[in-house]
């Protein structure tokens, strides 16, 4: 924008209307002493361009209203943007409004009001709307770079709109109009195929081609399948036709052959029946003749056997008679042998008799001895032992319970005690005991009586006495020891007797036998029998008997004679029976006649058999199977003919559809479309790549912007401070100056002097302003921006400002107007004068 005029009324120190107009498009100086309102005017310009007319609140009132007055600010600015003159007017706080007018035919005409008017102006300055309150640093748009406020350091980073504009500005500087046209053409071609987001555009020529190609693919596939099937059908049909022809030819041969075979089979069946009949007749006659011959043979055989049997019978009868004559001798031999056997048995038993006799005698002797000893019976012995033990126990108890008197004589004494008198020598001791009372008297000396009240001792004494009496009565005057001795001897003898008795008992059972034996052979009591001699005699007898029996076995000979006789009788009966039957056969028909008939029947059978075999061998096999085969062949043939007819129908239909032409055309179309599609795809890919490469190149160059800005700013800075000054460093992301690149380090802005800092900020802003004003002139404002700069450098800055004034509108706010007097074609506005002071 180029500022044409500014009008304020009721704004801070301007309680009256002030209009500043006639700004040059080059250099302008707004001069006035401190407090004259230079910066206030600049602030008013900022409010009218950027702030919302609807703002309210104490802060806003304080920022805008004159001190101590209830006046509401109204501000109006005229400016050039592009090729159009504009005028924006705003009233704040009361009856607030905003109105944008455009100069048309020499007069301003309203264009927009209110927020629309404000939005349009902000758009011209690439500024963003403040959501609340007054516009801040981030809402300044291009003014952030172009307007240098009083005493403020440069911002840490430029806002987004500035950066975007700078990118575009530098991009424009890098691209000529021809390049722009190329890029535009590339965009246009790209848009034929793609949407801005890179998706394929629905209107892309590729889309219908792809759709058509896909459809054609399906069509071709379908047609190919149909065509292939038709080809296969032809192949199958050819095979079928060949098979049908072959099968028909085979059937043409097989059918008449089958008929012939059937006739042959019928004749063979008849021949088989005739053969069976002849065979039956022949076999029947054969059986008859064979039976006859068998009977003749049997009769002869039986007669021979009868003759043999009769001879055998005669021999048997002779042997039987001889045996009967020898029979008494055999019986004699048998008797003798039996006697020898009995004598042998007695001789074997004789030792048993001897032993029985000896054992019986020994047993008898022991029994006599035992009777003489008379040992006490075992029960009595036991009782005596028990009584003796009880007596001992009682006596022991009595001794313990009895009175005891001990008398030791000092001189020989006579003592009456226990009913008797005795003499006790000097020094002897006499002990007297009694159960309850002891009476002792020493005649002439003393009478001693000892008594006890213990009744138990008396009882014990009585028991001892009683028991002693019972034992004595049992022993009958003998001692227990004598009893014990006899009892032991009796026991020993009894055991010996028991042993002998056990030994003699089995012999005793044979007592009668042994006594008879002893009675029969009293002679053996003198000398024992010689059993070996008896055995030898028996064997001799036995041999003789066996020999006689072997030779003259009467039973066997009797049986043999009877058997032979029976056999002779049987054979005679059979022979008679056969002879009768043969006579009967011969009476019916002689054997020779039957044999002639048999021969004839055999010949008849052989003939029938030969005829059957001849017919059978002429047969070609199983007629049923053959017929089945022919029937199957016929069925297969029919099926194949049906299948062939179906395939022919299919082929006819396929041919009517002009399948091959359609396939050819479809394949040709698809090839053409595929080529066209490929060409389009290649072109689309190519244009996509062109566009992407152009964009990449653009980005690459934009990425180099900070360096370019730094280069330009450094050139300005060196003009101010000298050629050997360090380069200005521009932040890679902020694009704002952040110091000087001194060798090996970076000197941050805040580390520099105030003058250097404001000069570096000026150089950087001027470099950026130079870019931002490439496409259109803009207003650059410097509000007392060089207060810390020395005169020498200030002079060089003036030179630079003079040059910049060729490219942009410059407004310098200063309280030292003389410093700028040397600027060429500068327009100076004296603010106090304008105010009428």
């Amino acid at each position: 924008m180029i500022l044409r005029s500014l009008e304020v009324d009721g704004f801070r120190c301007f309680d009256r209307l002030l209009r500043v107009e006639g700004f040059s498009e080059g250099l302008n100086v707004l001069a006035g002493p401190n407090g004259a309102g230079k910066s206030t005017l600049l602030r008013a310009l900022r409010h009218v361009l950027l702030d919302s007319h609807g703002l309210t609140g104490a802060g806003v009132r304080q920022a805008m209203m004159p001190w101590g007055r209830t006046l509401y600010p109204r501000i109006r600015a005229e400016f050039l943007h592009g090729d159009t003159e504009w005028q924006i007017e705003k009233k704040f706080l009361s009856n607030a409004y905003a109105r944008l007018e455009r100069k048309e035919s020499g007069a301003f005409r309203p264009v927009a009001e209110g927020r629309e008017a404000e939005a349009k102006v902000r758009e011209m300055l690439l500024a963003a709307a403040a959501p609340k309150g007054l516009a801040g640093e981030e809402h300044l748009g291009l003014l952030q770079v172009l307007w240098t406020p009083q005493g403020a350091p440069p911002p840490a980073a430029w806002n987004a709109s500035v950066r975007t504009t700078l990118q575009e500005s530098f991009g424009a500087a890098l691209r000529s109009p021809a390049a722009e046209q190329i890029a535009a053409l590339a965009d246009k071609r790209y848009e034929e195929y793609f949407t801005p987001t890179g998706q394929q555009r629905k209107s892309s020529p590729i889309v219908p081609l792809e759709a058509e190609w896909t459809g054609l693919q399906r069509e071709v596939q379908l047609l190919r399948d149909q065509w292939r099937r038709a080809g296969e059908s032809r192949e199958i049909l050819a095979t079928l036709r060949a098979e049908i022809a072959e099968a028909a030819a085979r059937l043409a041969v097989d059918r008449p052959r089958l008929e012939q075979e059937r006739a042959r089979q019928s004749a063979a069946a008849e021949a088989a029946a005739a053969e069976a009949k002849a065979r039956s007749h022949w076999e029947e006659l054969s059986r008859r003749v064979a039976a006859w011959r068998e009977e003749i043979g049997a009769e002869g055989r039986i007669r021979r056997e009868l003759a043999e049997a009769e001879a055998l019978h005669g021999a048997a009868a002779s042997a039987l008679r001889e045996a009967q004559l020898y029979l008494p001798k055999i019986e004699e031999l048998e008797t003798g042998l039996e006697q020898l056997a009995a004598r042998g048995a007695d001789a074997k038993a004789w030792p048993d008799w001897v032993r029985w006799r000896d054992l019986s005698a020994a047993l008898q002797g022991l029994r006599g001895q035992l009777l003489a000893l008379r040992p006490p019976p075992a029960a009595s012995m036991e009782e005596a032992r028990k009584l003796d033990q009880q007596i001992h126990l009682k006596r022991a108890g009595l001794e313990a319970a009895s009175l005891r008197v001990t008398l030791t004589a000092e001189t020989a004494l006579a003592v009456d005690a226990d009913g008797g008198q005795r003499t006790v020598a000097a020094g002897e001791t006499l002990v007297l005991t009694g159960p309850q009372r002891i009476d002792m008297r020493i005649p002439g000396v003393a009478r001693l009586t000892a008594a006890s009240a213990n009744a138990h001792a008396v009882g014990l004494a009585q028991d001892v006495e009683t028991l002693s009496k019972r034992l004595s009565a049992l022993l009958q005057g003998e001692t227990l020891a004598a009893w014990e001795e006899r009892f032991a001897a009796g026991q020993q003898w009894q055991r010996e007797m028991d042993g002998l008795a056990a030994e003699v008992r089995p012999l005793e059972l044979r007592r009668a036998e042994l006594e008879q034996l002893a009675e029969r052979h009293q002679e053996w009591t003198a000398a024992a029998p010689d059993i070996e001699t008896i055995r030898a005699e028996w064997r001799t007898g036995k041999d003789a008997l066996d020999a006689a029996r072997g030779r003259y076995n009467l039973a066997a000979l009797t049986g043999a004679e009877a058997s032979a006789r029976t056999q002779c009788d049987g054979l005679r009966a059979q022979a008679a029976q056969l002879a009768a039957r043969l006579t009967q056969h011969a009476a019916a028909e002689p054997l020779a006649g039957v044999e002639v008939r048999l021969e004839q029947a055999q010949l008849a059978y052989v003939g029938a058999r030969a005829q059957f075999l001849a017919l059978q061998s002429a047969s070609n096999g199983d007629t049923a199977a053959w017929e089945r085969d022919v029937r199957i062949q016929q069925e297969l043939l029919s099926r194949k003919e049906v299948e062939a007819a179906r395939l022919e129908g299919e082929l006819a239909v396929a041919l009517e559809q002009n399948l091959y032409s359609r396939l050819a055309e479809a394949e040709e179309r698809i090839t053409e479309r595929a080529a066209s599609l490929a060409a389009h795809r290649r072109r689309a890919a190519a244009i996509q790549l062109v566009r992407a490469t152009l964009a990449d190149a653009q980005k690459e160059m934009t990425a180099a912007l900070p360096d370019q800005i730094a280069g330009q700013a450094t050139r300005y800075w060196r003009r101010i401070s000298g050629d050997d000054s360090p380069a200005i460093r521009i932040g890679a992301d902020s694009w704002a100056p952040d110091g000087l690149a001194v060798p090996g380090a970076v000197a941050a802005l805040h580390e520099l002097s105030g003058g250097e800092a404001e000069q570096i900020a000026f150089a950087a802003r001027l470099a950026l302003a130079g870019q931002l004003t490439q496409s259109s002139r803009q207003l650059a404002v410097f509000d007392d921006a060089f207060l810390a700069t020395d005169a020498g450098r200030a002079a060089r800055i003036l030179e630079m400002l003079a040059e910049a004034g060729q490219q942009m509108q410059i407004l310098i706010l200063t309280c030292h107007p003389a410093r700028y007097a040397s600027l060429p074609e500068v327009r100076v506005f004296d603010l106090p004068a304008l105010q009428g002071h």
Binding site: S176, G231, S233, R234, A238, R241
Partner: protein
């Protein structure tokens, strides 16, 4: 005896490589067929593959039969591997019974022909490893000149196919004066040890594809009689040309030469132009002129994918400074590394620059 030997008419064939000219290509085959039947001879042998497929339109079969019927003499047609004698084949069409001068070989037979006997065996299968000429020797041969006709691959012709193989000495084995072969689309004559041509492929009467050598002919065969060798002459019948130009451009001006070659081609041509080498900025104009000649021909395929923009010509320096020039350099570097899209992109950028006069 003088006869014409043709084969492989492939009527109704697909011509996918001909793009939009496929129908014209098919039509041309009928046109050149008419050229054949307009020629004069004692008889005409068509040694197989008269049709591309047994499924071709029956109207086309009728049309072909009519063209053949116009020949002033008997025509002997042999079913080949493309149109084998099968149920439902083209040979069941009524046209073959409609014209008395048309004789389809339907079985291995010794067929009486003007001046002698023709031995022939029809193919019944698309694929077979049997030599179709082996049956010829067993056929009866009356007195007079005996020739034969068969269809298959003579050994050594195409190592990649074994279908219907034919022995190199098939003519000698069949003991015929001349064996007329079909299947191979290029005209090929086989001389015996004495230098006499007794076996030959006539080739297709009309070229079928790009790169097909010596096709578009019919053979006129004269048999003087006795032991005299046949006199075989190729007669041009094709109406279309299928030039395949594989041009390498290296230096500036080469493209102009290519343009001149293309411009000199006849209009009834199907052109495939494959360019490789370096495209100099100055040559883009000639390339554009070639592109513009596309409409002159029945069909033209231009493949410039193997072209690489020439470097070092200062072309980029003529572009506007800044992003465009930088982009052009980047694209050229990628193109030099074989990036086909970059090649296209660079050519596109050149076109854009030319459009804005940069």
């Amino acid at each position: 005896m003088e006869f014409l030997h043709t084969a492989d008419w492939q009527i109704g064939m697909k011509a996918a490589t001909a793009g939009g000219a496929a129908a014209a290509v098919r039509q041309a085959r009928l046109e050149s067929a008419a050229r054949v039947t307009a020629m004069q001879a004692d008889f005409l042998l068509v040694a197989g593959d008269t049709f591309e497929d047994n499924a071709v339109d029956r109207a086309l079969v009728q049309q072909t039969g009519e063209i053949l019927s116009r020949f002033a003499g008997p025509v002997y047609l042999l079913p080949g591997n493309h149109d084998p004698l099968q149920p439902g084949s083209v040979w069941e069409h009524a046209v073959w019974r409609q014209y008395p001068n048309l004789h389809v070989v339907r079985e291995a037979a010794a067929i009486p022909i003007p001046g002698g006997t023709l031995l022939a065996t029809p193919l019944r299968e698309t694929h077979s490893r049997n030599d179709p000429t082996t049956a010829l020797a067993a056929l009866p041969r009356p007195d007079g000149t005996t020739i034969a006709m068969s269809h298959g691959t003579v050994e050594g012709v195409d190592p990649d196919t074994e279908h219907h193989p034919i022995a190199r000495q098939a003519a000698e084995r069949a003991r015929v004066a001349y064996l007329a072969l079909g299947h191979w689309h290029s005209t090929s004559l086989y001389a015996d040890a004495g230098g006499a041509v007794r076996m030959a492929y006539c080739g297709t009467h009309e070229t079928t594809k790009f790169g097909e050598r010596d096709s578009g002919n019919v053979l006129r065969v004269r048999l003087p009689g006795g032991e005299a060798p046949p006199m075989v002459e190729a007669v041009r019948t094709g109406v279309l040309v299928w030039p395949l130009l594989e041009e390498e451009v290296r230096i500036s001006g080469d493209m102009e030469r290519v343009r001149d070659r293309v411009a000199a081609l006849p209009e009834r041509a199907l052109l495939r132009l494959e360019l490789r080498g370096l495209l100099h900025p100055a040559d883009t104009e000639f390339l554009r002129q070639i592109e513009e000649m596309r409409g002159r021909f029945l069909h033209m395929t231009l493949d410039s994918s193997a072209l690489r923009p020439a470097a070092g010509e200062g072309w980029e320096e003529l572009l506007p400074a800044g992003a465009v020039r930088m982009a052009a350099r980047q694209l050229r570097e990628r193109a030099a590394q074989g990036d086909a899209v970059a090649v296209d992109a660079l050519l596109e950028l050149q076109v854009l620059a030319r459009q804005v006069g940069a």
